[in-house]
């Protein structure tokens, strides 16, 4: 009985520390706004370019959903790639990594930063997706299915990006390395997200792809949890 209570308390401690780290990252971000500003600026630049080049009448009706879905995820992925990797790099650059290692276990640090990155990604999506649909005159028949795709793919993208950020934080050529190591790992997620977005825009509910996204998120979360110590601890 006491052992069970101990395990429960350790898990509660982990969750509490993860939330504390997420709150700490949010406070730092609200003070400095480096990640949010760079991500939003990048997203706005991409949207302007895409909108200027294509506009609401630049695409034929046939194949419009596929092209728009692919462009939307290109904008979201590259915008996220400018901000999400900063999770651990910032700790190393500002010299706070050692203190963070002392106050919380690696799994809690990773969970907290993945949570913050997920919130950041969803905030970008909330601003970018309606603007994208408006500027390109793109009608999404099943908005709820699109929300499910954005949440599942966003969580997966955040978990993988956070874990890889911990790996590359102490390597040389961090930003180039992050793109090289992240692209093949998130490619199946992005391809699934694009296929599901096409289905959502046509009014279908892509159950199979949504299940694949759930499985990917689960596998990534388990892998990151088990390997957190190897990636982050000294």
């Amino acid at each position: 009985m006491s052992q069970g209570a101990g395990t429960l308390s350790a898990e509660t401690g982990l969750a509490r520390r993860a939330f504390a780290i997420c709150r700490k990252d949010a406070a730092v971000e609200l003070r400095r706004r480096v990640a949010a500003a760079s991500v939003l600026f990048f997203a706005a630049a991409c949207l302007t370019l895409v909108s200027f080049a294509i506009g609401p009448f630049g695409l034929p009706a046939e194949g419009r959903d596929t092209v728009c879905s692919a462009l939307l995820w290109i904008v979201l992925f590259f915008s996220a790639a400018t901000g999400l990797p900063r999770a651990f790099v910032r700790e190393e650059e500002s010299g706070t990594a050692l203190a963070l290692r002392r106050v919380a276990p690696a799994a809690a640090v990773l969970a907290g930063k993945a949570l913050f990155n997920s919130i950041l990604f969803l905030a970008i999506a909330v601003l970018t997706v309606p603007a994208f649909a408006l500027l390109l005159g793109w009608r999404i028949e099943s908005p709820l299915a699109l929300v499910a795709v954005l949440v599942l793919a966003g969580v997966g993208l955040s978990i993988v990006s956070t874990f890889l950020s911990a790996l590359v934080a102490r390597a040389s050529q961090k930003s180039v390395l992050f793109v090289i190591v992240s692209f093949p790992l998130v490619a199946p997620l992005l391809l699934g997200a694009i296929a599901a977005t096409v289905a959502a825009s046509r009014g279908e509910i892509p159950w199979t792809t949504l299940r694949v996204l759930v499985a990917y998120d689960g596998a990534a979360a388990c892998g990151a949890y088990l390997l957190a110590s190897a990636a982050w601890d000294e």
Partner: protein, 216 residues
């Protein structure tokens, strides 16, 4: 062990000769193009085996911290990348004959290309970290994490999308759809390529260990 290595030369020579002379070309394929299965599939299999070996030794390195396990994992990835390139090149020849172009962005072609990028990235990651202990631990963590997500590339993505690729050995019917001569040469090829991989892995890992001991 030395006898087995000596046996590999006539064994592989017999397998290559049989691949061109013994089984009849499979039905439903242009000309002799189906014979690529004796080289293309063993290359793809060996690449997958190499990446699984890398994941296994990476796990062992994280558990025990023995640098030899890191040497073997890195050597397995290097060889896996070589066999993956061979699988892509042989697959491209088949694609040119059957579908008219070397590259068609077929889901199976694309997923194998991404697999190549995945383990190419492992080698980039290793080269970007100077400290050997940190390099070993971070590379092992990446190899294991990649091992967790690899099934989505190799098994899930090609099966949830339409593919032109012929049915694989692991198919929905759960049967190997080959006649006896084809099956014999095919499995001899798998065994031969796997044996070559094990031999090359041993040479590469031992040479890495020597380089490590010299620099220490």
């Amino acid at each position: 062990m030395k006898f087995l290595k000596l046996l590999l030369l006539p064994g592989m020579a017999a397998m290559v000769a049989s691949a061109f002379l013994w089984p009849a070309p499979a039905e439903g394929f242009l000309g002799e193009s189906s014979r690529i299965v004796f080289f293309h599939v063993p290359c793809a299999w060996t690449a997958t085996l190499a990446f699984l070996v890398a994941a296994g030794y990476s796990g062992a390195y994280l558990a025990r911290g023995n640098p030899w396990h890191d040497d073997v994992a890195a050597a397995a990835v290097r060889l896996g990348v070589v066999f993956a390139v061979l699988a892509l090149v042989t697959g491209s020849f088949f694609a040119k004959i059957m579908w008219g172009s070397y590259w068609n962005w077929d889901p199976r072609e694309s997923s194998f290309l991404l697999l190549l990028f995945l383990y190419g990235a492992y080698l980039f990651l290793r080269s970007a970290i100077d400290d050997p202990t940190r390099r070993g631990r971070i590379s092992a963590a990446y190899a294991l994490f990649a091992g967790v997500l690899m099934p989505f590339l190799v098994f899930v993505a090609p099966r949830v999308t339409q593919s032109l690729h012929p049915q694989t050995v692991i198919n929905p019917q759960g049967r190997i759809l080959m006649d006896t001569p084809t099956k014999v040469v095919f499995f001899a090829g798998l065994a031969g390529f796997s044996a070559i991989f094990v031999w090359m892995l041993s040479l590469d890992a031992r040479s890495s260990r020597l380089a490590r001991l010299e620099s220490a």
